[in-house]
Symmetry: C2
Subunit: 213 residues, 2 copies
DNA sequence: TTTTTCCTCACACAATTATGTGAGGCCGCT
DNA sequence: AGCGGCCTCACATAATTGTGTGAGGAAAAA
């Protein structure tokens, strides 16, 4: 038995979905909410396996709700349920821990199967949304490996420690070299990366994916 | 007639795919290459609509090739063709301008349809890869809107100019205030954002999406 | 072997940043 | 009228960063 919590500010839709879901013997709607705050409130007293969440809600919207729920209840599966096309937010949703993203006009079968998949830990995405998700990725052409200047491994060491807010002195200690050496590496990095200070360097480094570990 | 360029370092596979593709009257293989350099060489003399690209190749691999090709021939559609599971790179591929990503063991129909879709500008992704792509997104939980401290508009002004590598003096000039004022804003930002220097601040700012304009 | 690249370090100086403390004016809310 | 938040600025000082120049040694590449 999969325990569901439904969250949507349209009461009609809430009842409609509830009816659909309860037609399946494996599913049980243990509660409903009409905004994020109510969701958090409900979770305090009810055990929930899967949370069906509308993206746009008053008080606390879907994205914000995801973050809060995931923080307090990391093993609840969150399935976004939305009207359509808020394409650009899809990646954000997943980055913040959502398990799936389905359209409200999905067929009954897809909806139910989606919930079961989500419960099983599988990621769920409406087929029509795949392209949108890809598009929202393509927006930001990040990391141009071919055009990235050749950063040496030692320089990368220094770069990463700078990113951690260490001072030159601390970096020197960490790497067992003199501060002069560290300063030299920084100097060379500035030239290679065509920046004028550490801030610019860290920005490019992030864009280039140099700090992704 | 869609003109295709095939790139793969496995000659056998190259011929196999070629045979499959040429069975369709709308497709024409106008050239083949076994690494990225050969691709660039070929493009100099041949007009190509869609480029089928293997991800792993010697000399210049798929990703690097994408970047170079997109730079010089932005309207060529690039379809990645790969054995399987290099999941984490999927998003990178798309960010850099690929149009699609298909498995080599896709059926003949899917392959041909994929090429036609890509030619028409549609994004193409093997169904089995959707989940992997989502997973590679979930890795990095970025942007926590709810937890972001209240940055005032003036502070944001300062923050953005810092991100542009301006010095305190330059920022002061830009905003028509004294350097003391700018310094104060920075000081307050450090406390709010819980960082110890500008580098840390810019990192968080990027994570929080404060610099996305 | 010669050359190049990378890592190391020194010394010095100017420029900038970070920190601490205190304070006046303005605006919106109670 | 009073309070809190925001923006403004001053003064001072320590800490750190950025820049210029020069150089030795080891390892890899030509």
């Amino acid at each position: 038995m999969i325990r569901l919590l439904l969250a949507d500010d349209h009461l009609i839709l809430l009842h409609g979905i509830r009816a659909i879901l309860e037609s399946d013997p494996e599913l049980e709607v243990v509660g409903t909410a009409s905004n994020g705050l109510e969701v958090l409130e409900a979770l305090k007293s009810i055990e929930v396996d899967v949370l069906l969440l509308d993206l746009q809600m008053p008080e606390m919207d879907g994205l914000e709700t995801i973050i809060h729920v995931k923080k307090s209840y990391p093993n609840i599966r969150i399935l976004m349920l939305t009207t359509n096309d808020e394409g650009s937010i899809i990646t954000t949703i997943f980055k913040n821990g959502a398990t799936g993203y389905l359209l409200k006009n999905s067929s009954q079968e897809i909806l139910i199967q989606g919930i079961k998949d989500a419960f099983a830990g599988k990621k769920v995405l409406s087929p029509h949304l795949t392209e949108k998700m890809i598009n929202s990725l393509s927006d930001k052409p990040k990391s141009l490996p071919g055009l990235t200047p050749r950063i040496t491994s030692r320089e990368l060491d220094v770069l990463k420690l700078i990113a951690k807010q260490l001072t030159t002195q601390q970096i020197a200690d960490e790497l067992f070299v003199s501060t002069n050496t560290v300063a030299t590496h920084k100097r060379n990095l500035f030239v290679k990366m065509d920046v004028t200070n550490s801030v610019g360097m860290i920005r490019k480094a992030m864009d280039w994916g140099l700090l992704d570990d």
